[in-house]
């Protein structure tokens, strides 16, 4: 009797196999490199200190353009004092950080958060990713000029 039940069972199995009629369960190999090709994380080339010209005295038109950009795109999270709002206050930032670090945080924030320890520490403190505010390289340099001005440079 047991063999009979086995027989019926086998028949059922064979029916199921036959009914899945030739559907190959092949799932294509997932190529991670190819997938991430469509999802660029880098929004510009990283800036190095040697690329940056420091102005002495400061360019006043850059300071004022930088201030306008600050009020439109940065002020919501960064105060000009040393008080933290969403992100850290800007007072003293040009003394604490390299100019290239500042510019990269503005224009290449995804790379910085991935590779830079200081940037990662800030994310742990603030818990909000520094956003990409769609700021060009030229505009970021003007913001830096405004930061120098905010730190008392002439």
């Amino acid at each position: 009797m047991k063999s009979l039940i086995n027989f019926v069972f086998l028949c059922l199995i064979s029916m199921m196999l036959a009914c899945s009629g030739g559907v190959k369960k092949e799932i294509p190999q997932v190529d991670l490199a190819k997938i991430t090709e469509n999802q660029p994380e880098i929004h510009g080339t990283l800036v190095e200190d040697k690329d940056i010209v420091i102005n002495n005295p400061l360019k006043q038109d850059w300071v004022s353009t930088g201030k306008n950009i600050y009020e439109l795109k940065c002020l919501a999270c960064h105060k000009l004092s040393d008080e933290k709002l969403v992100g850290p206050g800007w007072s003293g930032v040009t003394k604490k950080r390299q100019p290239s670090w500042i510019l990269n945080m503005i224009t290449n924030v995804d790379v910085m958060l991935e590779t830079d320890e200081e940037a990662q520490k800030l994310l742990e403190q603030c818990l909000v990713r520094m956003p990409n505010q769609n700021i060009s390289a030229e505009e970021s340099r003007q913001i830096l000029e405004f930061m120098f001005h905010n730190d008392g440079q002439k």
């Binding site: 019926v8 086998l10 294509p28 997938i35 795109k73 002020l75 909000v128």
Partner: protein, 659 residues
């Protein structure tokens, strides 16, 4: 006894094995063959090959799917309000749904036309028609948003629309319902034959910005205009419309509009019509229709009521309109990629007639007329016919084309797609659909350059295709590959609303142009808050304007006092983010309309009219950061007579009073 049990069990076993090997090839599960899963599979993180722009039917919207995966990416609000996206609820979008009948919150979107240049998809705009309150919408394919809606006057229902000419010179609108027009409108319904008229409208599309304008209308006998296609290539300059109810019935059309063996395909020489307009032969008619435009810089719509349209009368202007007899109650009217062949699909016909453009021109030239219908020449059927596809199936509806000389026709009654060869009219393949297919779509199928590869069936009946969800079911679409000799079923996917027509376009024609953010520098909204310094609250009588900004993760202001009963509070919220995919939402307790969903760099306005005193929370509805749950605030509403001053602040250190 034991042997009987043994035999019967053995018998059942054999039966199972027989069933197993038979396995019904055309059963409800169907034989999905070999590599079907692989062909429709798009691995995580990878992109689909085509965008599928699908009409939402009675949802009034347009949906966007990926092909071959069948994944739903977006529902674009078009003719129906959408509280999720605040479409028709925000102050900026309300004018988009304005009509000569006032604000109309719903419609029935049947057909899609994707813009073309030289008859080939250019990926600029998608057009959709409103079947109920006649309108055409234009969707910008860089933002996937409705940028323009134009109402069609002298129309009782806009079905044969929004089909386009080769270079998107015109998008057309033909009346499904003929109606009395031109002043004499309060007439008995059964005076249809004397008083009811149809029109087709040619709406010009600005080459640079897409703006639509009604160039002219053609006044036509009162019948039902159903579907349409422009000529292309050699037939560029012509437009073809299917018509039914040539019986001119006004009741029980099911019977009364199915009396004649043949209705018509109407051929319009629109270049000739243009000549008549230029020569001043069109008559100005006083009408009333709304023209609504959304501006992506001011993030606001305007609605203008227009009062004039130019009408051409083919009874007095010969050489512009011809009828061709077509069996029987034709629905689809499709031109092949060469522009030589026009395929009419009589819903009730046993054949598919294929007309030849060369023969049409010859018949016109030789005045090879059969008769006149209401003053318009009717060409001889045999003189214009390329041939008939014999016994193709039951209930032919629509035809799409590939680039190898094959046509694919949907059959509603026999529930199948039939592939046939245009040159010799022979049927070469057929596949069942589940169930009762309406429209179908081959990528690029209506253009001069079909992209081919797939055909998608949009079915009218779903029944048992998915897990049941009570009486109301999702609609069912099916994807088939057509790159081999045999069509092969690859995938079922559910759709929103009731899809009618759809088009598919290679992703590469749209994806690189997709807008990610609206630039704050280009925001020209009159109530924009460009930086938190500009945030403020202003009172103008009973209107209170809140200039509010949002950024991860706070509003400025987030505490407002001094609102009084009877106030109309306008929250103008600007999203200061400039990063892709960081929208902020805005909702306030008791709002009688909807939320706002504000894209990066955009300003949107919600009107709030509190009906009681108290303190009302407001918050961000779109999860934006780890501190999203902190993105909230309060609004205090006091009695109308109170002296609470108007104040606003964010953070205890910056309370400010209205200057």
């Amino acid at each position: 006894m034991k042997s009987i049990i043994f035999k019967s069990i053995f018998g059942v076993g054999i039966l199972f094995m027989l069933i197993a090997t038979a396995c019904k090839p055309k059963g409800m599960q169907t034989a999905v063959q070999g590599d079907a899963a692989v062909k429709a599979y798009v691995p995580p993180g990878q992109y689909d090959e085509f965008y599928n722009i699908v009409s939402g039917g009675f949802s009034g919207q347009m949906s966007v799917y990926g092909i071959p995966s069948g994944r739903l990416f977006r529902v674009i609000p078009v003719f129906s309000v959408d509280p999720e996206k605040s479409w028709g609820f925000s102050e900026e979008t309300k004018p988009m749904l304005n009509t000569s009948h006032g604000f109309v919150p719903w419609d029935d979107l049947h057909h899609i036309a994707l813009s073309t240049t030289d008859g080939i998809h250019d990926g600029r705009w998608a057009f959709g028609n409103a079947n109920n309150t006649p309108r055409i919408a234009r969707i910008d394919m860089t933002t996937f948003r409705t940028n323009e809606i134009l109402e069609i006057p002298n129309s009782g229902g806009n079905h044969s629309s929004p089909f386009i000419t080769e270079n998107t010179e015109y998008v057309v609108a033909g009346t499904r319902f003929s109606i009395p027009m031109d002043g004499k409108v309060d007439v008995p319904i059964n005076s249809y034959k004397e008083n009811f008229k149809g029109t087709v409208s040619f709406i010009s599309v600005d080459k640079n910005n897409g703006t639509m304008n009604i160039a002219f209308q053609i006044l036509l006998p009162g019948v039902n205009f159903d579907l349409a296609r422009a000529g292309k290539g050699k037939s560029h300059g012509w437009f073809f419309f299917s018509c039914y109810n040539s019986e001119q019935a006004n009741t029980l059309l099911e019977v009364n509009a199915s009396q004649k063996d043949k209705d018509f395909i109407m051929a319009i020489n629109w270049k000739k019509a243009e000549e008549y307009v230029t020569a001043g032969k069109a008559v100005k008619k006083t009408v009333r229709y709304a023209h609504n435009i959304y501006d992506e810089n001011s993030h606001s719509a305007t609605s203008e009521i227009k009062n004039e349209v130019l009408v051409l009368d083919p009874k007095e202007l010969p050489g512009m309109v011809y009828f061709m007899p077509c069996p029987k109650s034709p629905h689809g009217c499709d031109t092949d990629p060469t522009g030589e062949y026009i395929v009419g699909s009589g819903k009730l016909a046993a054949v598919i007639p294929v007309f030849s453009f060369t023969k049409i021109l010859a018949a016109i030239d030789q005045k090879n007329f059969d008769s006149e219908y209401d003053g318009i020449p009717v060409l001889k059927y045999d003189a214009v016919l390329h041939g008939e596809v014999l016994k193709p199936g039951l209930g032919p509806l629509h035809t799409e084309f590939d680039d190898n000389g094959f046509a694919y026709t949907s059959f509603f009654v026999s529930s199948e797609i039939v592939k046939w060869k245009i040159s010799d009219l022979t049927v070469v393949d057929r596949v069942p659909t589940y169930y009762s297919i309406g429209h179908l779509c081959v990528p690029g199928g209506p253009t001069k350059k079909p992209w081919g590869k797939y055909v998608i069936a949009y079915n009218k009946i779903t029944k048992d295709r998915y897990l049941p969800t009570g009486p109301e079911l999702t609609q069912s679409a099916q994807l088939y590959s057509i790159d081999g000799d045999k069509m092969k079923l690859l995938l079922d996917f559910p759709t929103i609303g009731e899809p009618h027509y759809a088009e598919a376009i290679p992703a590469e024609l749209i994806k690189p142009k997709s807008v990610k953010i609206f630039k704050l520098e280009e925001n020209k909204h009159p109530y924009a808050t460009l930086g938190e310094k500009q945030a403020k609250v202003e009172r103008k009588g009973n209107d209170v304007h809140v200039y509010m900004s949002s950024i991860r993760s706070h509003f400025v202001p987030d505490n407002i006092e001094g609102i009084k009963m009877g106030d109309h509070v306008y929250f103008h919220v600007t999203n200061l983010e400039q990063d892709w995919d960081v929208p902020h939402g805005f909702a306030v307790k008791g709002a009688n309309n909807a939320e706002l969903l504000i894209m990066p760099g955009e300003t949107q306005t919600l009107l709030w009219e509190p009906n009681r005193t108290g303190v009302f929370p407001m918050y961000c509805t779109d999860f934006c950061s780890a501190l999203h749950q902190e993105m909230q605030g309060y609004i205090r509403v006091s009695p109308a007579s109170s002296n609470v001053p108007l104040t606003f602040s964010t953070g205890a250190k910056m309370p400010q009073t209205e200057q």
